[in-house]
Symmetry: C2
Subunit: 223 residues, 2 copies
């Protein structure tokens, strides 16, 4: 019944527009009562984003299941991949919804509130992991926002492609940019180097840190 309500809602949204469609219209087309609708969806907005509650719960559980050995930035990137997978599971539905959401301010606002909840879940995990670091909360908030922005950049590219591109490859690439900024050692892409190989960097103290990091990255990438 839940799927029938979603299908009916989208059929009407696309035919008549989102604002012009009422919950009564949706339940009439689906052949069920109003009460059934509200058993599944607290509001008309929720039928547009039927899987976010489950996905938020999955993401929260995934982060709660982390241990101390998990590199924190890599972990939140993996959490973001769960969200991407939810979209990629059903490309045509996700693309339809993207077009709908772009057109209606009420849906935009709803989407922003959902994105904000994902971001707070990532930040809460990072704040725990960075507890005791100087500026741990700041670092957590900034990295959570960066992960969400990178994910959304890749997700929107994929949605604009009509769901044709490789969604996972796009998100991997975008998240790599975030990991390179704050957890470049998180996954060693240099592979094959002896574990005790030593790197010596000699630099002037006033050299900007990013130049030193670039130099280190060049060295560890090898030739």
């Amino acid at each position: 019944m839940r799927d029938a309500l979603i299908a009916a809602a989208f059929q009407l949204f696309l035919e008549r527009g989102y604002e012009a469609t009422t919950v009564d219209d949706i339940v009439a087309l689906a052949g069920v009562g109003r009460r059934s609708f509200f058993r599944y969806f607290p509001s008309k907005e929720d039928v547009v984003f039927p899987d976010h509650e489950r996905c938020l719960a999955d993401l929260t559980a995934f982060l709660a299941g982390s241990d101390e050995d998990d590199e924190p930035v890599a972990r939140v990137c993996d959490a973001a991949r769960l969200v991407l997978r939810m979209y990629a599971e059903n490309p045509s539905f996700s693309v339809q919804r993207y077009r709908l959401t772009k057109s209606f301010p009420a849906l935009r606002a709803y989407e922003l509130s959902v994105v904000w909840r994902y971001e707070r879940a990532l930040a809460a995990y990072l704040r725990r992991r960075f507890a005791g670091w100087s500026d741990g909360d700041l670092r957590a908030d900034v990295i959570a926002a960066a992960v969400v922005a990178a994910h959304n950049n890749a997700l929107r590219s994929w949605l604009r492609s009509g769901g044709e591109d490789d969604a996972e490859a796009g998100v991997d690439h975008a998240l790599r940019f975030v990991q390179d900024s704050w957890a470049p050692g998180g996954e060693d892409t240099g592979g094959g180097q002896p574990e005790d190989d030593v790197v010596v960097v000699i630099t002037k103290r006033r050299t900007p840190l990013w130049r030193v990091v670039r130099e280190l990255e060049t060295q560890s990438d090898g030739a």
Copy 2:
């Protein structure tokens, strides 16, 4: 009249709550007609955030007035400081509003949409500046989100302090974290050290880069 409407609205929001206060209540207390209210504010939400439209316009103009010599990340950080200044101009009003916004989901949603507009304005500027870079749009989106997150982290700390702390110092510190991540050469905080002071880092190649960076940061902070 605009200020009288804002004052009346806040008096009622604090006495009766936001939801229970109508536009009619506000205009009755301010002694003006409904039409006057809507001349200044499109909706009840807008009276809670009366200065954002002006601030968004200021920020957009500030970014449009940039030239090629401005380091882009420093420039968006300066743009974020304009927003902070709007809050800091009137601490008691900002603190009252913060408490109000925390309590009412409708105001939270409105605030998220405002924050999103600031973020898009910063990202649009950065996308222009990074045009032609590989991953320019991605870099722009991630840095814009990071600047907004850093700004909001510091702003919220200040608001939680009841507007007592030094708002500008807090935001400077938070934005420094973002600049150090992507534009560390923008402003050298190392001050006072001889320019040719040399740092030697010896590390195993498999050491995660973030550990090396932390070590370098410790060294350049001095004793």
